[in-house]
Symmetry: C2
Subunit: 230 residues, 2 copies
């Protein structure tokens, strides 16, 4: 029985949640099919059955799993004969480090670079919710949060240095082929390109070359939705 | 035949090179014995046979390997029947990310917090070399580089957030037991405690609890040299 993945949708069928992309890529990596159910920011009732309010939510038979990390863990445990997302405890642990680096540092930097663009790509009925919930965190308008982003670009690019140095030495973080540790930071760039024409990376940045390799993976899965150029 | 490890030594037999600690812990992890040869900053001729000027240098039979990352790679390849430092490509790649994060970001932060203390722990005959080579990078005295370090402590502690969040969830980065991915950032803290009484971590910081677990590993190897309290 095919699984069902509930994922965030914006206007014009935009799919930009970084957390949902981690799960999409994880499913593709393991060769598992899922029916994709789009969920707007305000359609909390659609996923209320999961006992919480955030996508991604994966339904596999009678199992309901939310949180992208928990989903990755579940998929490796439930489908051990499929290609591994981690492969051993050390790989899983180091990927958890990369997960926190991405969530708590990289995405914080990115948020200030694209947040007003996200608002522009929300469905009309979700705009007020998105604006009010995010502005509440900053006590200023999203346009003000994003203003002057060119000045913050060097710090964002410097943040990427450990990723850059690694993918200068080898094609993917996981080595010759990608694995979940690659999907985590790539999904943040996929988030940005889903909503923002702002150019984050220099053309000759090894991070961009790595991201383009991931765009091509799984028959161009990450390019199969509306996106801006990398 | 036992291996030989050339490692940095300071005054009073201090052993504070973070790169040498990575190798010391890697050898202990794999259960491999090595004769340790101390080398002062200015004793370049002692390791000239390696074709470069930096420790650690590992000699294993007719093999000479320098650079801590290359040594870890060598040990896992040459001794596959011993406990793995990585275990698979994804673990190795993610550890390389952590290696660059540590070398290019964490240690940069740390340097400004302890550099004058390093000078105080150099052998008398190495002091001029250390001071002149490091001051050349900054165009100011090491005391000036270190001055005001209390003000930079919050940024250093914030940098550690991905490590902190991971070791709040599990005992070590590598999971239930440590592996090379743990030895990399731990060796930076071991560097600091080898030369500096400056308190880097709050008593209740999960990073400190993790570091104490690593101090206890391998029969207290990291505590077997002169160190300041964590």
């Amino acid at each position: 029985m095919a699984m069902t993945l509930y994922e965030l949708v914006g206007r014009d069928d935009r799919r930009f949640s970084p957390f949902c992309w981690r799960t999409r890529l994880a499913l593709a990596h393991k060769g598992l099919a899922a029916e994709i159910v789009p969920v707007g920011f305000t359609e909390k009732e659609t996923i209320a059955f999961s006992g919480q309010e955030k996508v991604p939510v994966l339904v596999d038979g009678n199992k309901v799993i939310s949180d992208s990390w928990a989903i990755a863990d579940y998929l490796d445990d439930a489908y051990p004969d499929r290609p591994p997302l981690f492969g051993n405890d050390a790989a899983r642990g180091a990927a958890l480090f990369v997960n926190f680096w991405t969530d708590r540092q990289l995405q914080g930097d990115l948020f200030g670079l694209i947040v007003a663009d996200i608002l522009d790509h929300c469905r009309p009925e979700d705009r007020d919710y998105f604006r009010d919930s995010r502005e509440g965190r900053f006590n200023k308008s999203l346009a003000e949060v994003q203003a002057g982003r060119e000045d913050r670009l060097p710090a964002f690019r410097a943040r990427l240095e450990p990723l850059r140095a690694t993918v200068k030495r080898q094609p993917f973080l996981a080595g010759a082929a990608p694995a979940y540790v690659d999907f985590i930071p790539f999904s943040s760039l996929q988030w940005a390109r889903g909503v923002s024409p702002f150019k984050l990376l220099e053309d000759d940045d090894p991070v961009r070359a790595w991201a383009l390799r991931l765009c091509a993976a799984f028959d161009g899965l990450a390019d199969s939705v509306p996106v801006y150029p990398l």
